[in-house]
């Protein structure tokens, strides 16, 4: 991996994180909280598919995934997203590698696997709910009740599945935009 590859990781991480950050702001409205795992993978798929056209060497997807986990740690989502992103990033890397870093179909699936870390943000909500809410008492009981009603424990695997499926949708969307705009412009 050369300096140029590392710089590409930085640039696309910045775009991706700006999208994550804007969408995450919606999470203050209770109904939108579970929807984050839907919106982020779909919108994130657009820059990510362009990023994948730049990926030619082992490790680039993995590093981006780890950086996303680190950013979640720095923005207060605690350690579960980082733990998941280290593993899911490696898996995404292996999926894309199995297509020799050029298969379009594998790229779409790669976005699905990569998106799994978004769902990991909810893990404390399911498995440490009391602690999670203890530090968010100011949200008011209404907000807490609404979210708890929306998020019973069986939703946990559903969130991961949703992140994957929406990642695939986002991948397809990104793929379509890639064909429509970037290949014509000569930057894909």
């Amino acid at each position: 991996m050369k300096g140029k590859d590392l710089i590409h990781i930085g640039i696309f991480s910045a775009i991706y994180f700006v999208i994550v950050f804007i969408v995450a702001m919606l999470g203050f409205i209770p109904v939108f909280l579970p929807l984050l795992a839907v919106i982020v993978p779909i919108l994130g798929g657009i820059p990510f598919m362009l990023f994948l056209t730049r990926v030619k060497k082992f490790g680039m997807i993995w590093i981006m995934s780890v950086i996303m986990g680190l950013m979640m740690l720095l923005t207060g989502m605690s350690w579960p997203p980082l733990a998941v992103s280290v593993v899911s990033g490696l898996l995404a890397e292996l999926v894309y590698r199995s297509g020799n870093y050029q298969s379009a179909a594998k790229a779409v699936i790669t976005n699905g696997v990569f998106s799994l870390w978004v769902a990991a943000n909810y893990l404390p909500l399911f498995f440490a709910a009391e602690q999670y809410w203890a530090s968010r008492q100011n949200f008011g009981q209404d907000y807490i009740d609404t979210v708890n009603r929306l998020m019973p424990v069986w939703m946990c695997p559903v969130m991961f599945a949703a992140a994957f499926v929406c990642g695939v949708i986002g991948g397809l969307l990104g793929r379509a935009l890639l064909k429509k705009h970037f290949e014509k412009a000569g930057i894909a």
Binding site: I11, L74, G76, S135, G140, D142, Y143
Partner: protein
Amino acid sequence: MAGLFTAEIENRGIVLDPRTKLAVMLTLVIFALGGTGSGIAAVRLMTTAVSVLPMLLLLTAGQYRKAALTGGIYAAVRTAQSLLLPHLTGAALSVSGICCMAFVRLMPGLVMGGYLLSTTTVSEFIAAMHRMHVPQQITIPLSVMFRFFPTVLEEFAAINTAMRMRDIRIGGRRAGRLIEYRLVPLMVCSVNIGSELSAAALTRGLGTKVRRTNICKIGFHIQDAAVLLPAASLYVLWGLGMIGVIQ
């Protein structure tokens, strides 16, 4: 958001080691944002003290206006939270509670992040990371990313204005193209800026196999100790609280 990672070497007041700033940042995330140990009274008090630290640091860096503004907002929200909230119920409590919470918890971290990025140069950041033995594969993307945030936001604002002029906005006639017509130009210009950035980085020898030298002098001084002391005491208090020495 101007001035991220583009600090002037002169006129920035008291200089702290980048590692000190990172340590305070992490402490704020753990205690102020993460709410660790909020069940222990001493930790709660100390968290408030450390939350004020970023605003004081802004003062030492000579950014008086920003310090006064953030300090004022923080003090106002804090008083509102302790005086007003106990009298509210229901939806009013939810809304104002979330707003207060967002401010009281997010603000110290955000102000600290702003201070960190506006008083550290990329060279210093890389030197500090190097001393901590963080591999280049992580430091280069990270420094590019932080350097790139203001650029992304600036470009995004410009594109946003252009698209609003064409009535491509929420509630506009062509709302369906809302996302496509914003993200695509953003990415095209980001890729172009990115290739310029890689060219610039290559001339500075980033990403080569050889060990880079760095003329930045970083190291811990008396001012670092003064800043690290309150942060470290938080961990001590929390530890004491966990084993039950203090309530």
